[in-house]
Symmetry: C2
Subunit: 279 residues, 2 copies
């Protein structure tokens, strides 16, 4: 790359940091890339850090010294998190979304990559300091959420399957009871998906009783992996006995009357957690 | 937002443009955001444009005049595209990936959100000027690729299902012949997923005969939607009769000997298309 002025370096550096979240970048990397002294690079990073932190895009952790470096930790501040949750509440509060069985039509929202990214950033913000190694979800509707979180945490995504048509070598299967239908079902994950001791975030789009999520949590035990947290886009209240007690929810379906076609959506518990993790 | 100097504006503007690909942003938006004159904003954008275009991150289209604006079109230049394809070839060329039936184990790569993003940017680069309205894929393994492309093109993702357990209201189903197993299977897409005339990019992870992709193309007709292009991460050669003739492939499995456990991977046709679309 040719030698750049500060203005050019700031554009390129911002681009680079956004593409490499949670990765330690040495000052030498930037110094070589821009043919600039480390002291100039350090001054650039102060400017980037100030904007990122004031605007709530995330934190820029700097490791001082000759072998020092910088890490971009994506976060979302309280204001943006509240705006995002409010936007979701408004979109989910449409009675047309009511589906048989007390489910909500959400595929239009789940099909929006930019919205998934925003939700992924919100989860990644809450999980930023939890040393997550992998995100686990179940096919199909949890997948876009899982990838968005995985993107911002820079960790792999592992997908549990409910079919057995899968060609991924040796597989681990468990039976679980689907909370709503009370039927015994099977879920499967490739043996090489998780290493023992891996710290895992489990995510899905919707939780009623939590049978599917509980199945994934049980499956983690088969891999000797550790559950760090469970997340859902929408939890449904009014469930007699929930199988998952500790979780992060973005929104909450607090009332649904299928006959009258009325629906009430409110904020999940994520906003408390965003507040708690602010420095 | 408080008034910023040029250095701060450049960081924030770069962040904002990356979060809003393919969207027209008015100069007034930035002018109000930074309490700066439009002339200063225009000068800032010249700096951003220069870096983005020199480094091959994408183009910055500016619409001049009082009501003017700017649009960031993510692209990937030839050098980065070649590096990405070479990296994939090297990772895919491991004989341990050979699975029964002539398939390749790719879940580790498909499970890497950053790699998916790079591949998504490469597809989005080739498709940048094609006015895509939606990306269509089939559950499960095409989903991460579809979302990465959808992210960079800023268009929704629609997911075809092979099960019938789906609760998404009215559905459209077709039967198709799986190219490899020659069995008749069913695929289903929610009626409200695509509007007539929508311009659609169809993507999947792997293509042998192309039966699944052909099924998705046929399904588009049921929606009166238009096929713009088909993309795959890996195509397998040595197929007698391919059902899809025109497609974009990132890599090509040109030889696989299951008994000797040898494998040969080469570049797909995407690199020709990257060259062709450079300005």
């Amino acid at each position: 790359m040719k030698k750049l002025k500060r203005s050019g370096r700031l554009v390129d550096m911002t681009y680079f940091l956004l593409q490499h979240p949670h990765e330690v970048i040495s000052l030498s990397h930037f110094s070589l890339r821009y043919h600039s002294a480390k002291s100039s690079i350090s001054e650039d990073l102060v400017i980037v850090k100030e904007i990122f932190e004031e605007e709530g895009y995330g934190s820029l952790l700097t490791i001082p010294g000759a072998s020092g470096g910088v890490t971009f930790i994506p976060r979302m501040n309280n204001k943006d998190a509240t705006e995002l949750v409010d936007k979701l509440i408004s979109q989910l509060s449409d009675p047309e979304r009511i589906l048989p069985g007390g489910y909500l039509y959400m595929m239009d929202l789940l099909g929006n990559p930019r919205l998934m990214h925003e939700i992924g950033r919100l989860f990644a913000s809450v999980l930023a300091d939890k040393q997550i190694d992998a995100v686990l979800t179940v096919a199909t509707k949890g997948i876009p959420l899982a990838y968005a979180v995985g993107h911002y945490l820079d960790v792999p995504v592992r997908i549990v399957r409910r079919d057995l048509r899968v060609m991924e070598g040796s597989m681990v299967s468990i039976n679980y009871v689907s909370g709503s239908s009370k039927r015994v079902q099977t879920m499967t994950l490739a043996r090489r998906s998780l290493t023992p001791g891996a710290r895992v975030f489990v995510i899905d789009d919707f939780m009623k009783v939590g049978g599917t999520l509980k199945g994934m949590v049980d499956l983690l035990e088969e891999f000797d992996a550790d559950l760090v947290a469970v997340g859902v886009l929408t939890e449904s209240v009014g469930v007699e006995e929930r199988l998952i007690e500790d979780y992060i929810s973005i929104t909450r379906l607090s009332e649904m009357n299928i006959r009258d076609r009325t629906i009430k959506i409110e904020a999940g518990n994520v906003l408390d957690k965003v507040e708690n993790q602010q420095p």
